[in-house]
């Protein structure tokens, strides 16, 4: 079965024309939600950026679009470029090489990742998970983690750092990276239920009762195990315990209602496209669907894993991305790096435009979403983590300034931006990683 992507998208456009509240929000949430919720999304790209082709020459409003920013022309005025922010904890700080692994682990946590190849991985709770912790109980999914690449299959990922670091930006606790989904079909089925999940109300109610009894059963065993384990085992059992609890809550509150979503006209995507651009756009579609339907308000999306060495044949680049990013100032490699950066920007621009085309009560979906796009490495050859390439889109309803090139003092903690973003959605967070306070100059 090979479903044409366009068919699928057409379906999406027509079927979900209703405001999110009427069609999908659980009743409890409808009662509570006085206004359109503000969502947050974080889109990550690896291996730095060709900064010469990224950073605008002018500051403030009315800056000119650089080559990499050119794809965002259609929504100019709906995003700002942030210059000068840094993740200082991604630098070695005595830990030696491993900038790729560190930059991903630090990107949303602001914490120095513990250097370990296997035992005892440790970073910090990430900005998205702080939001999920605060508001996750109001939507079916506390948060959604997306990506395009599985973790690598063998060997070391980066200089003695476990591969968990370079394939995760979202950390549920300091020891637990949140697994991400890379198959659009699988995301779709999680969001909307499997296509063949039919059945009458009676059998659905039974099934729910059985599922809840199963979760009770395993919770009890997990609790017993916690009394008979120590050390790191205990922590693994906690991970299990928390995961069960989240699924249980979801089942109790949301499962019956979501099954009513017959989703007529929407066909599930068929799997992982070979073409990376299509893959990114399709995952973006899933993210947009989830945000639009208020199935979640928090999303992270790794367009590729940190240090990824995938060749971009789609734009005729035979060398791997990581190899290219070590350009050594070679003009040919810098050119290739720029081409990859533009390619990624084009896909992100597609997602932003799509969000901006969806009308909600209070502006477009983009207006109601703070979406941060960028990476944890500035120059791929230097591996520096200051002056990071970052673009903050949307968020107009939250009062995010748009259409500006904002330059912050050198090495301003990026975590200050997270504090501000969290504040905008009403999450009470005083400190995140190396933050020193809310971002001065953003408002």
């Amino acid at each position: 079965m090979n479903i044409d992507r366009r068919t699928f998208l057409r379906g999406v456009g027509t079927a979900i024309a209703l405001p999110y509240l009427e069609i999908m929000a659980p009743r409890a949430a409808i009662a509570q939600a006085a206004k359109t919720p503000i969502r947050t999304a974080y889109l990550f790209v690896p291996n730095g950026m060709n900064m010469g082709a990224w950073t605008p020459a002018e500051t403030g409003a009315g800056f000119g679009l650089t080559e990499i920013l050119q794809p965002f022309e259609p929504i100019k005025g709906k995003f700002s470029v942030l210059t000068g922010l840094a993740q200082m904890k991604a630098f070695a700080n005595g830990d030696g090489p491993g900038d790729h692994a560190r930059s991903a682990a630090t990107w949303l946590t602001g914490v120095q990742a513990k250097k370990t190849a296997g035992s005892d991985i440790q970073a910090g709770i990430s900005a998205d998970q702080l939001a999920a912790r605060e508001f996750g109980d109001q939507t079916k999914f506390a948060s959604l983690e997306l990506g395009c690449e599985r973790g690598t299959l063998a060997g070391n990922c980066d200089s003695g750092y476990s591969c968990a670091y370079s394939s995760s930006i979202s950390w549920r606790s300091e020891n637990t990276p949140v697994a991400k989904d890379i198959n659009p079909r699988s995301v779709f089925e999680r969001l909307f239920g499997s296509v063949d999940a039919v059945g009458n109300a009676e059998s659905k109610a039974k099934r729910q009762a059985y599922d809840l009894s199963i979760l009770d059963f395993v919770t009890e065993d997990a609790a017993n195990l916690r009394n008979r384990l120590g050390g790191r085992d205990l922590q693994k059992m906690d991970e299990y315990f928390n995961a069960v609890r989240e699924i249980e809550e979801r089942l109790k509150k949301f499962e019956l209602e979501s099954k009513e979503l017959a989703l007529q006209g929407i066909e599930a995507p068929s799997g992982i496209p070979r073409d990376r651009g299509e893959h990114i756009r399709l995952m973006g579609d899933m993210m947009v669907l989830a945000l639009q339907s208020d199935l979640t308000r928090v999303c992270t999306f790794m367009l590729a894993n940190e240090g990824s060495n995938r060749p971009y044949r789609e734009i005729n680049l035979a060398d791997g991305h990581h190899d290219i990013s070590h350009h050594g100032k070679d003009p040919a490699k810098l050119q290739h790096k720029k081409e990859i950066d533009i390619y990624h920007a084009q896909q992100v621009a597609y997602i932003l435009q799509k969000m901006d085309s969806i009308q909600e009560e209070n502006g477009t979906l983009l207006d109601n979403t703070m979406l941060l796009f960028g990476g944890g490495i500035s120059d791929g050859d230097r591996h520096n983590h200051d002056n990071l390439p970052l673009l903050l889109a949307g968020g107009r309803s939250a009062g995010i300034p748009q259409g500006q090139h904002l330059v912050f003092p050198d090495r301003t903690p990026m975590t200050n931006l997270f504090l501000t973003m969290l504040d905008k959605i009403g999450a009470d967070v005083d400190k995140l990683g190396d933050s020193t306070g809310q971002l001065v100059g953003l408002f």
């Binding site: 005595g94 830990d95 030696g96 090489p97 250097k115 370990t116 190849a117 296997g118 035992s119 005892d120 991985i121 506390a142 690598t152 299959l153 063998a154 060997g155 070391n156 200089s159 003695g160 476990s162 591969c163 968990a164 549920r172 020891n175 637990t176 949140v178 697994a179 198959n183 699988s186 999680r190 059985y210 599922d211 009894s213 199963i214 059963f217 395993v218 065993d221 997990a222 009394n227 008979r228 384990l229 790191r232 085992d233 693994k236 059992m237 991970e239 299990y240 995961a243 044949r313 035979a318 060398d319 791997g320 350009h327 050594g328 070679d330 040919a332 490699k333 050859d381 230097r382 591996h383």
Partner: protein
């Protein structure tokens, strides 16, 4: 003696102290050590370390470290004036492993200070490592964090538990790699996404494994009907036939067998005949029925149908249209048919045999709805297999509660067992390989594994799956706890085809061949390197490794074999005639330069190449990492890179371009061995074909190691590895222990590695000797117990 080991020190900048660095050295102690003279041996060791510190280490530390790291106010609290205190180092291995990493990776001293030479750094690092390794205790097995089943293990376990082999873990999140393997307990985390996938997989597996022949009503959905020219949807959602027509209703049942069709229909009766309904199974008419009912009072008719193939179109039609516009009674002018509902009910009897999984799980049936003996027997067996141990007290009863709940809702025995299976498959005792901590007196105390725990460790090591019936029996009888019993099981298990898992999961990760699915050679340069060829390359390696294991060949044959395993595609790539088809056969390749053994395998040569050219550096790094166990330090950022432009490629060969790069002394010290090792494999191109020319340049496969040893071609590389056999064995043992236990090996494990190596070499050095010694070691058969916190 101590300094003899310094040859390797400094080769590695990894944290966690890979053991192979210490190769040979601690072995010297353990060879000499006997229980009787143990104390004096320890004392001698310590004395030696103290003497060495005063003589060679202290001057270096004084010069390079103490200017800052001296006294209680040292930066980051690292007071290196305490380095002479050997006990202090031993008490805080984590801190000193970090010191090692920092010194070796040249992070310290800071650039503004005096820099020690590479050899001086190695001296400091080597001494600290020897202090740490002097603590190695053969009775301390180390701590293994409980391991969640990874994707491969989950698939295999489901295959062996319920008999379904369909890759149920396909959509699970990937398992992160730690220490080179995807089965490391600390790294295998669990998030809500995992649990969601486990729930969904458990449901699908239980529904596939156990068939529930509940009588179900499948109501045909009229909105999916294919209407004809003379039919339409009526206002009450009925189907109106205003003239002769047949419509098709798609029906999809869960199993084949005898069903009943129920149709509710009415008619506008007119003319001499009663309105007739025709029903078709696909193309074949199965019933023609007179519908006596009216629109106000429709008729309900029922008749049997046999369904084959689960999905079909049920045809429903109107046969005898009548129209007489002249009839004086307007109600008698027009005959029409109205169909209100079509249902398929059943199966009344199933024609499909029950799946094998069904009859194996449900081996007995209750005599009545309240009989709990049968479900108890079924669930007891299920739990003992799924949890890989006999049930605890009350465990079956708790699962029976779910059984009772399902029965109380009116569902069948089979359905209830199905839900119980689902519950078992998301239970932590199934998803994790639990080894309880019990109640140790002291944190860090070791205990021998019990027979079932040991059986699980063994089966997941050798098969990446659960124990089979024979292994369970050996655990039940306790024979597995004796050395002979354990050995017998290992031999039996390695002979089983399931031992291919050791090759596919251990060997392919150790050799980094699993990355073959991530590489993509440039299709314009290497059009034949499609997915199929790449997969064949990996299969060559796993088949070869599996052969060495099952045939109990000498370990060194991994390097020196004069044979390999080829299918038609690989044979063509290697230039071997008379091999065709997909089947892999053993082929003598002594007449082909470079082939035979791992070093001439296309899989390895391809994963260590760039998409468009070979990479001697990556190949050299692979040899140092995987084969010699001395990984080079990582590439520092912001260093020069190889000129790779079109112009560079056409005007200079790769060696000339690399020589330019190496001219920088900062690069030279690391690159010398890397390049020599990598260049020796230059006769293989980026997808492993033999060549004598690289573009327009003749291949130059020569190089010189830092020791002065000259290499020219892969045959010399093979000789070098044979000469450094101990390094190779060290590396392999360390990797195998890591994989077998699911934890990182540290300096304190060195004596285990040495003990294994010594015995293996004494016994003759075959692959099964190695596997047996790994399995018999305390690291494998014991568990370091953690204290359970008081709640």
């Amino acid at each position: 003696m101590l300094n003899g080991s310094a040859r390797k020190l400094g080769a590695n900048a990894m944290v966690g102290l890979p053991l192979s660095i210490l190769a040979g050295m601690v072995g010297i102690f353990s060879v000499l050590a006997s229980p009787v003279d143990q104390p004096s041996q320890d004392a001698q060791t310590r004395k030696g370390l103290e003497v060495e510190f005063k003589k060679s280490i202290k001057p270096l530390v004084d010069q390079f470290c103490l200017p800052c790291h001296n006294g209680p106010d040292s930066p980051k609290g690292v007071d290196l004036s305490q380095l002479s205190n050997i006990d202090g180092i031993i008490k805080d291995p984590a801190r000193y492993e970090k010191v090692i990493s920092i010194v070796r990776s040249q992070v310290m001293p800071p650039p503004s200070m005096d820099q020690p030479s590479k050899d001086q750094r190695e001296e400091i690092v080597g001494w600290i490592q020897r202090v740490l390794a002097s603590q190695c205790d053969l009775n301390n097995p180390g701590k293994v964090t409980i391991r969640r089943l990874n994707r491969a293990e989950y698939n295999n376990t489901i295959r062996d538990l319920v008999g379904l082999d369909y890759n149920p873990a396909k959509d699970f999140p990937s398992d992160d790699i730690g220490n080179g393997f995807d089965n490391i307990g600390d790294v295998l985390s669990i998030s809500p996404l995992h649990l969601e996938k486990y729930m969904a997989a458990a449901r699908e597996i239980s529904e596939r494994a156990i068939r529930v022949d509940e009588v179900k009503t499948y109501r045909a959905a009229f909105d999916t009907a294919k209407l004809g020219e003379n039919s339409r949807r009526g206002s009450d959602n009925e189907i109106v036939f205003f003239s002769n027509d047949i419509i098709k209703l798609p029906v999809d049942v869960e199993s084949d067998g005898q069903y009943m069709v129920k149709v509710v229909a009415g008619a506008d009766q007119a003319g001499p005949e009663i309105a007739k309904l025709i029903v078709l199974n696909g193309q074949h008419a199965i019933q023609i029925i007179e519908i006596n009912g009216t629109r106000a009072k429709p008729t309900e008719v029922k008749f049997p149908i046999e369904i084959k193939g689960r999905s079909f179109d049920l045809g429903v039609g109107f046969m005898n249209d009548f129209y007489d516009p002249k009839n004086p009674d307007p109600n008698k002018r027009d005959r029409n048919l109205f169909v209100y509902a079509v249902e398929v009910i059943g199966p009344t009897s199933s024609s499909e045999p029950l799946p094998k999984s069904h009859t194996e799980i449900i081996f007995t049936h209750p005599s009545s709805a309240t009989d709990l003996d049968a479900p108890r027997a079924v669930l007891t067996r299920l739990i003992s297999r799924a949890y890989r141990r006999p049930p605890d007290i009350g465990e079956v009863d708790r699962l029976l509660e779910i059984y009772k709940l399902v029965r109380s809702k009116g569902d069948s025995y089979e359905r209830a067992i199905q839900v119980c299976l689902q519950a078992v498959l998301v239970n932590p005792h199934f998803l994790f390989r639990v080894e309880l901590d019990n109640t140790p007196k002291n944190d860090g105390e070791a205990r021998p594994l019990d027979a079932y725990e040991l059986a699980s460790r063994l089966s997941y090591f050798l098969w990446s799956s659960m124990p089979d019936d024979k292994l369970f029996e050996a655990a039940r009888q306790g024979t597995i706890l004796t050395p002979e019993g354990l050995e017998a099981e290992v031999k039996r298990m390695l002979a089983n085809p399931k031992s291919l898992a050791l090759a596919e999961n251990f060997a392919l990760q150790w050799l980094q061949v699993q990355r073959i699915s991530e590489v993509s050679p440039d299709p314009t340069l290497f059009p034949r390197a499609d997915k199929e060829l790449l997969q064949s390359m990996a299969t060559e390696t796993s088949t070869f490794f599996n052969y060495i294991v099952r045939e109990n060949r000498p370990i060194m044959e991994l390097i020196t074999a004069d044979y390999t395993f080829l299918n038609g595609r690989l044979a063509a790539l290697y230039g071997v005639k008379n091999v065709s088809g997909d089947y892999f056969e053993k082929v003598q390749v002594s007449n082909l330069p470079g082939r035979g053994g791992l070093l001439g395998m296309a899989s390895i040569l391809t994963v260590t190449s760039n998409p468009n050219r070979t990479s001697p550096v990556k190949r050299g790094k692979w040899v140092m990492e995987a084969i010699l166990g001395t990984p080079p330090p990582p590439q520092p950022p912001n260093v020069g890179v190889l000129l790779d432009s079109k112009e560079a490629i056409t005007t200079k060969n790769i060696r000339e371009r690399m020589d330019l790069h190496r001219a920088d002394p900062a690069c030279f010290s690391c690159h010398k061995p890397l390049d020599a090792l990598g260049f020796s494999m230059e006769n293989f191109d980026a997808i492993g074909r033999w060549r004598t020319m690289d573009g327009t340049f003749p291949v130059d496969a020569s190089g010189e190691m830092p020791s002065g040893r000259k290499l020219d071609g892969v045959a010399d590389l093979e000789k070098l590895i044979v000469d450094r056999k101990d390094d190779f064995l060290q590396a392999l043992i360390e990797k195998m222990l890591t994989y077998a236990t699911g934890r990182a090996m540290t300096a304190a494990d060195q004596c285990h590695v040495d003990a294994i190596m010594e015995t293996v070499e004494k016994k003759g050095g075959t692959m099964q000797d190695l596997i047996l010694e790994v399995v018999k070691s305390d690291v494998f058969t014991k568990k370091g117990v953690s204290k359970v916190p008081v709640k």
